[in-house]
């Protein structure tokens, strides 16, 4: 019985964690799919979301305020970075990758200098647990999972049901033609980078009560986000969601049998081996 309820909790943890990882990785993959930029600083944008969120909660005492302020601030940082730094060098994939690595170093160091070296915790705005069939589970984690699903649904509707989303998909398919048809491609680029940063920061604030907030949390999530993007397929949004869920379920279930570090090594090794079978990701060559 104990093992069964542990397993149920591990699966629930896997699903909520997978959904939030997907939210972060979708931003990364959206930026890659549209701008062809491998954003090494994506984890740092997530970290900045959590850190700015912590400061906002500290100043206002309101989690809702943090949920609004941090993603908007980080989204603005993302837009500035795209416009000011990446725009002149965006044609060369390796150069933008190296530039975003430089940004990673700078963001992490800025966080270290303002936030300090330690980690801090944020108390969840929703307390309590839900009990069902002998399993009790944190209500806040369930809410995070539901919010992630809601946000992804919004992203889907935005990309496939609005004019701006159609523009984005059009620019991605053929930049020249899109530009010739009057789509403001440079605005679309800035917006996409800002959106990716916004989603990462939102995930950072949502996760702040679950993980500990610190200047190094970006590197950790960067590894995970890159992995699900590779396994899901570069540029494939559907693949990212599936890969995130598989990754989080495998990792959370295997922690029942081994230490968290061993579980992570095992999961990473399994996912890397998957790349040998399908180098192009789960949905080979799929584009949405």
């Amino acid at each position: 019985m104990a093992l069964e309820s542990d397993l149920a909790v591990a699966i629930l943890n896997g699903v909520t964690w997978g959904l939030i990882v997907a939210l972060i990785a979708l931003g990364l993959n959206l930026i890659y799919g549209l701008l062809e930029i491998v954003n090494m600083a994506h984890g740092s944008l997530y970290m900045l979301g959590a850190v700015i969120g912590w400061f906002a909660i500290d100043a206002t005492g309101s989690f809702a305020a943090a949920l609004l302020i941090a993603p908007l601030a980080v989204g603005a940082i993302g837009m500035t970075v795209e416009r000011g730094i990446l725009r002149p060098i965006e044609d060369d994939l390796t150069i933008t990758l190296i530039a975003t690595f430089g940004l990673l170093l700078m963001f992490d160091q800025l966080a270290l200098m303002t936030f300090g070296p330690g980690t801090r915790s944020v108390s969840a705005p929703i307390a309590g647990t839900v009990s069902y069939a002998g399993i009790s589970y944190s209500l806040y984690r369930l809410v995070v999972g539901v919010v992630s699903i809601f946000l992804m649904a919004c992203l889907y509707l935005f990309l496939f049901r609005t004019r701006y989303g159609t523009w984005m998909r059009g620019v991605r398919q053929d930049r020249e033609t899109a530009s010739a048809l009057g789509i403001p491609t440079s605005k679309v680029y800035v917006f996409t980078f800002g959106l990716g940063a916004f989603l990462a920061a939102l995930a950072g604030v949502l996760l702040a009560p679950i993980v500990s907030v610190g200047h190094l949390m970006g590197l950790d999530i960067l590894a995970v986000a890159f992995m699900v993007v590779i396994v899901g397929g570069l540029g494939s949004l559907r693949g990212v969601l599936v890969a995130s869920l598989i990754y989080a379920l495998v990792e959370n279930v295997s922690t029942l049998f081994m230490t968290p570090v061993e579980a992570r090594i095992l999961t990473f090794a399994l996912m890397i081996s998957f790349v040998l079978i399908r180098p192009d990701g789960i949905f080979r060559g799929a584009s949405a």
Binding site: T94, I98, F101, M106, L234, E262, I272, P279
Partner: protein, 355 residues
């Protein structure tokens, strides 16, 4: 580059002259400074070799890897185990580190090269992160983040006697010798026919394929050789500090190789040494006043890729050319008329097929 000097030894170009000056500085320098600077110089040389090994794969073959720290760490650990657990000498341990990293590089390369070029870099990032997790968690073997200290054995030089790595002067010259030989070997490779294929893959992979070269094999060769020299650099760094820890396997250490190469100058090999001198020297200097040097290094990296993509070596070349144009550098007079040897008059030679 076109300036030549007639000497009793033959014709020398300005490039040779620069290298001779560097060599003389490298040999005289240790007699003028104290032990700390000798230590710093030896560790910078090891890091420079590490950067140059990255340049071999990135600068010449065009494959951006962010996983170079894996080889650096494996080399250092392999030599540590060879000395500590198997009682091997300095040279054998170095050879073990070199060969083992070459083998591991083939294994990693086989996975990473399968993925498309953009996926390649991400797979290498993941591999360094897995290695980091493994090294941090397996404390019984690796000592985790606390690391392992190594008692380095004595080393006998024929006709000169016994030396230890704890002698700063010997340590410096030992590292200098290994780095110089490695750079010469790598330079030989990149200027050989194989090296030309590397550059063709970098400049136009499709053409290389069309001409019948097995691109995957050449990439694998470049990756393994590069990994092996990175491993050698790891061994040297362990010889300098007598210490190795799990933090050798980190994304930041991988990034160091990228930074040295980019700041020094891509596809130059020697540039990585300049990059290491500048970055490591500056961070040692700056860390005296502030702990914000990652901020400065990150900014420097951004500045370099945006404004000075050719790095320090490119900057030197430009300054020298500017001085040469004004006649400020003496040399033979035919510099205006002779074409730059590096500038291929017809780089994009069309491949004609006669069907």
């Amino acid at each position: 580059m076109s300036r030549t000097f007639e000497t009793p030894l033959g014709t020398l170009t300005a490039k040779h002259g620069g290298l001779i000056v560097l060599a003389i500085i490298a040999v005289i320098f240790p007699f003028t400074v104290g032990n700390f600077l000798l230590f710093l110089a030896a560790s910078i040389l090891a890091l420079g070799l590490y950067g140059a090994s990255f340049d071999l794969i990135y600068g010449y073959t065009g494959l951006l890897t962010f996983g170079h720290a894996v080889f650096y760490g494996v080399g250092a650990y392999a030599a540590t185990f060879a000395i500590q657990d198997h009682g091997q000498g300095i040279l054998t341990a170095m050879l073990v580190g070199f060969i083992l990293t070459a083998i591991i590089a083939v294994g990693i390369g086989l996975i990473a090269i399968r993925v498309s070029s953009h996926g390649f870099v991400i797979v290498t990032i993941l591999i360094v992160l897995i290695a980091n997790l493994a090294a941090v968690s397996m404390t019984a073997i690796t000592g985790g983040t606390d690391g392992v200290s190594v008692m380095l054995p004595e080393f006998t030089v024929p006709a000169l006697g016994e030396f230890t790595m704890f002698d700063p002067m010997f340590r410096y010259f030992f590292v200098l010798a290994v780095v110089a030989v490695s750079l010469l070997a790598m330079n030989r490779l990149v200027n050989s026919p194989i090296g030309l294929v590397f550059r063709m893959i970098r400049d136009n992979e499709q053409r290389a394929k069309m001409l019948g070269y097995n691109v995957t094999t050449y990439k694998l060769i470049a990756f393994s050789v590069s990994g092996a020299f990175a491993g050698l650099a790891g061994v040297l760094s362990m010889y300098v500090t007598g210490f190795v820890s799990a933090s050798h396997f980190s994304l930041i250490v991988s990034g160091d190789a990228v930074i040295f190469t980019l700041v020094g100058g891509r596809a130059t090999l020697i540039g990585a040494i300049f990059g290491a001198i500048l970055i490591e020297g500056a961070s040692n200097f700056v860390s005296g006043f502030t702990d914000a040097y990652p901020l400065i290094i990150g900014g420097l990296l951004l500045f370099t890729v945006i404004f000075e993509p050719e790095g320090l070596v490119g900057m030197f070349d430009r300054i020298r050319d500017a001085l040469g144009d004004r006649g400020l550098l003496s040399g033979s007079d035919d510099e205006e008329s002779s074409p730059e040897p590096d500038a291929d008059p017809n780089p994009a030679q069309e491949v004609t097929t006669d069907e």
